[in-house]
Amino acid sequence: MPARPLHAPRWMPLLLLAALALPGCDLFGANDDESRVTTDVVVANSGNFSAQDGSLTLYNPADSSATQNDINVAFINSLALYENQLYVVDNTQPNNAGRITVFSPETLDPVGQISNPRPPRSLAFPSAEKGYVSNLSRFDGFDPLPSTVSVVDLDRNVVVDSVSVGRSPRGIGVAAGKAFVANAADGTLSVLDATADTVRSTLSLNCTRPKSVFVDEEDELAVVCQGGGEQPSEVLFLNPRSTEIVNRVTLGAPVGSANATQSAYYSDSAEELYAVSGGAFGSGTGEIFRVDTDANALATTLQVPQNNALIGISAVGYDAVAQDLYVTRLPVNDSGGPLYTANGTALVLDRDGAVVTRFETGNSPGYVAFLRDTQ
């Protein structure tokens, strides 16, 4: 009987592959074990305008330590993280102007600065070379100056153009080659051609005071409308290509921040949008709305824990990695209203809204962002 040639079993290569993969060998240049961790939670403390004591609080969830970093700006309106840079949007400059300072997230050293002719509200990035900045319209309908979006050349860090939009522009979302600017005072969205920097159309939303705009994992546009009066707060989902509204999710109580800063946060990892009813002058209820952006439905309504030393909710953020919800609150003043000249408090809540821990922030916390790394 002739000897049969020795053949390796057909499943041998699969076994070899599995053996190599189990200890973490990276055959294809990708590490299947790589996971994201939150290295720091950045709380931007808006500060007091006159004292220009805006600051950043860095909270390390690993050891629950918080450090204050004075950056001496007048009033921080928002933060933006892009291409491993931290953009701090503030109203520091005189003559009713503002600026955006670019920080290295690792060292918190400033690495660039953009002068903006108007006080900036928020920043979005249509491309790696371009930024859009919505500009504050003071006193909304009473400001005689046109409401604009600044166009920033990110290579040179200079404003190169401005685009007139609806009144009181706030959040900006970028999708399908367009930028969608929420015009809070008009209840509209200005749709910009993100290449030509021109307004293509203006969409009427039939909601009260649209303020925050996000692009979710389904590439839908999520617009948070503040509500007020007889109209409830809502989250509108739009198809950015057809610009049609595909869903309206009613929240209820007016959405807002006690500091008129961050009232909503979108977590792409969790596919959840968080909006707070945090107004401190009787308009807020202390509710935190969790919206499932996959199902386009209100998932849960939480209530911020009661504390007679704290008032309102001034910012919100969700760390999907640790499943921690961050809300910042202001101290009370003499009459029980918000005190804007003292340090605030950040509460870390679990998914049921119970307090896990808390830490002190700087004066008037107004925005939460997360610095992440991979392991």
């Binding site: 007091n48 006159s50 004292a51 005189p94 003071r138 500091n259 005190l339 804007y340 340090n343």
Partner: protein, 381 residues
């Protein structure tokens, strides 16, 4: 305070005070009246703010001082004031006050009872408030150089016209400050023919409701305005120590100097749940120290004044403060006297050490700078 504000004040045009004093018997009656008109233009080009405010202020005062047959003196008086400003559609206020105070000497004890009645009109029902005061001075020893002092008084202060109607920031509904103050202290005085030395120590406690405090008020995101508001309860406690000396070593030459140290703890006591409760009021220094020296030779004088001011918090919870500062002022002057007038030429150097400091955060005070002033005073026959 709005950013980029540009204030162009125009010089007020005082109508000039008129004053007359007449002696009738042993008493003295003083009458005075004055008027002032001012124009303030406020421009802030970026916000297209351009408004002009005209204000008118007039007042008349009468004061009678009369001896009480060796027992002491009695002083009584009245003030009537009218203010008008072209703000918020035109606002005005009529106010009046009457006061009486006496000094009664009973051997080593001196009593100083007084009462002031304020009546405020405009913007609602008139308010009438009586503020009593009692001061006591006692010389416990045969040596007249030591005096014990005490004072208890109602501390009432109506908001000024500016605090209520200044634009931007005025608070029309501002309530008056009200409270009580208690003071006690001692003075030691040593007098020689050519030398005078005096030391004072005073401790004080004040409890106020609705104390008026200027602080930033939130308007909208990124927009805040300095505005006065009432802090419902404030307690101030403190100690003031002073030492003054003056000597004339030779004819025409006077040397003087002194020092004052003040420690003040002014606490917000409004809301125990607030981090401001128990904290020092913003911009109120806990410690101040002043030191001065003065030399006068014939018509020539030269003086130096130094101030050291401790840290001042600019946050309500004592979390942030401005560093202490020192400031030195030098002054020299020469005076000529004529039959009908006195002429004085005065040179002054402020911040002589050229120290960089801020009284309000981010508003640096001027560096070393000098002023030269010529003053002419006319004598009444």
């Amino acid at each position: 305070m709005e950013p980029g504000g540009l204030v162009e004040p125009c010089s007020p045009r005082p109508a000039g005070p008129g004053k007359r004093a007449q002696r009738r018997g042993a008493g003295t009656l003083s009458l005075s009246a004055q008027g002032q008109r001012s124009r303030l233009r406020y421009r802030n080009p970026p916000t297209r703010t351009d408004r002009t405010t005209r204000t008118t202020a007039t007042d008349a005062k009468a004061r009678l001082r009369h001896p009480l047959s060796g027992l002491g003196t009695l002083t009584a008086g009245t003030t009537l004031r009218y203010d008008h400003a072209s703000l918020r559609g035109g606002v005005d206020r009529l106010s009046g006050a009457a006061f009486a105070d006496a000094t009664l000497s009973l051997a080593s004890l001196q009593l100083q009872p007084a009462v002031r009645i304020d009546a405020l009109g405009g913007g609602g029902a008139p308010t009438v408030v009586a503020s009593p005061r009692l001061g006591v001075r006692l010389r416990p020893l045969a040596w007249n150089g030591l005096t014990l002092r005490g004072l208890v008084a109602r501390a009432f202060r109506a908001p000024t016209f500016n605090e209520r109607y200044y634009d931007p920031g005025g608070t029309p509904g501002l309530a008056p400050e009200d409270g009580w103050t208690l003071e006690g202290g001692l003075s030691a005085r040593l007098a020689r023919p050519t030398t005078l030395l005096r030391a004072d120590a005073t401790a004080f406690v004040t409890r106020l409701t609705n104390k008026i405090v200027w602080q930033p008020r939130y308007v909208t995101s990124g927009v805040q305005v300095w505005s006065p508001s009432n802090v419902s309860r404030v307690r101030s406690r403190g100690l003031e120590l002073s030492l003054r000396a003056r000597t004339r070593p030779r004819s025409g030459l006077t040397l003087a100097g002194g020092t004052v140290f003040t420690h003040t703890r002014a606490e917000n006591r409004a809301n125990p749940a607030s981090p401001a409760h128990g904290a020092q009021l913003p911009y109120v220094p806990t410690q101040k120290w002043k030191l001065w020296a003065d030399l006068q030779w014939q018509n020539f004088s030269v003086s130096a004044t130094g101030r050291l001011v401790g840290p001042r918090y600019y946050s309500a919870d004592e979390s942030k403060s401005l560093p202490p500062y020192r400031a030195v002022r030098l002054r020299t002057a020469y005076e000529w006297s004529f039959d009908a007038a006195q002429v004085a030429l005065e040179a002054q150097v402020e911040n002589a050490l050229n120290h960089r400091y801020e009284i309000v955060r981010l508003y640096p005070m001027p560096p070393r700078h000098a002023t030269l002033r010529l003053r002419v005073s006319f004598s009444t026959p």
